[in-house]
Point group: D2
Chain length 136, copies 4
């Protein structure tokens, strides 16, 4: 597993909490912030951005990952998610992580105090996954 | 766990294989069929339906589940997926199953001969999931 | 344009209204029903099916179209949508119609009384569209 | 309509071309770049980021817009899209623009030389749209 130093872990939590405040969530009122460590060792953030046509919105995790990958990094090394109650990434976000993260990539969930609610990994949250090598 | 009789399990596999043949997959050439047992004990099928704007397509599992739920059943009891290589449901499909299936709902993957490649459950494939009770 | 007889048009409206009642919309409370005429001259219906992870839900129009295409028909000839206020298909649903419908395919919006609010076409609702021939 | 100065228009085109090079499009080989002008007068870019589960990918336009809105700006003022052949935004991307752009927001399509292929507006590309005020 990627070993996150305490300093990097805290920086990721801080960014996730910052982006949670930037959520556009007028329909669910459930604000989510995410922070992603990419392989350039930069942190990229994202908030959930909803839409009046609900399926057209996007979760914070994916906003952050798509942003990170657009900045020319094709690997992600860790994901932190901040919500009011330590809510978990949806399956769609896990699938997007799967394309760019290793099985042991850390996924850390925090509440809005920044307290860690769960530490898992990509494989821990998306076992028996479908990935590029399955598309034959 | 919902106990599937051998008869129902085989009927689900047969339907998944039938729908695999109906796939609209001109972009990936990866045909997928799915069959869902709903709480009216009827089986609903679906194929993957792609789109030239790739993100606008939909996986077979979700086509089948949305069809089942539209037919007035708000619970699903089992999902079978057929692909050439026993490929697994993507995370997005698992999330849709999460809304309508119990944690111990069987998910069965078969290859195009109908041979079972994996038998798991919803919780087995989407642990630490996000669901309706988390949206506070 | 496909000329819809009054009889077929009314049958589509009736089906859209029927499926509107089957919506699973606990988050938005905005029930939508859709009915699609496929090239086997059968009508396929769908309701909007939401998800606690909002982006993982699906609109009624797409539920109906994916169902229709899964039943082995690769063309759709008309779409009718029923909502409380004659609401319009979202852009994502229009994109899915684009893969399977002709530019002059009728799109008809009705309110929950079944009164027609708008009659347009696919090209009328998605001009300058992106389709299979653009993916070079 | 927002009047774009020649300078801003060219800056948007340059950014869209830059992000096109950052596309992760191993499945379609159709690279897309987008640039968005937000109401802080900053330009935000995005590339299309595909996924082996095709529907889990995202178009460049939405990557750029979600990034822009996450950076605390809730309005977008212009969108430029770069592809090899001047391809148009899909319906889903238009729907996301609808949440944050005015009807007369410029949408400009360029080819990979940066030559303008089409200049339109949000209303020109998504007439009779569904938006926040329809969700009653």
């Amino acid at each position: 597993m990627t070993m996150l130093t305490d300093e990097i872990k805290q920086a990721l939590i801080d960014q996730a909490l910052l982006y949670q405040k930037r959520a556009y969530a007028p329909y669910s009122n459930y604000a989510v912030g995410a922070a992603v460590l990419a392989d350039d060792m930069q942190i990229y953030g994202g908030a959930n951005i909803e839409n009046s046509a609900y399926p057209s919105g996007l979760c914070a995790e994916r906003v952050a990952i798509f942003h990170a990958i657009s900045e020319a990094n094709k690997k992600i090394l860790a994901v932190v998610v901040a919500t009011k109650n330590g809510g978990s990434p949806c399956g769609s976000c896990r699938q997007v992580m799967r394309e760019f993260g290793a099985p042991d990539m850390p996924i850390i969930l925090v509440d809005e105090e920044g307290d860690i609610v769960l530490e898992s990994t990509l494989e821990g949250m998306l076992p028996y996954s479908f990935g590029p090598e399955d598309l034959i």
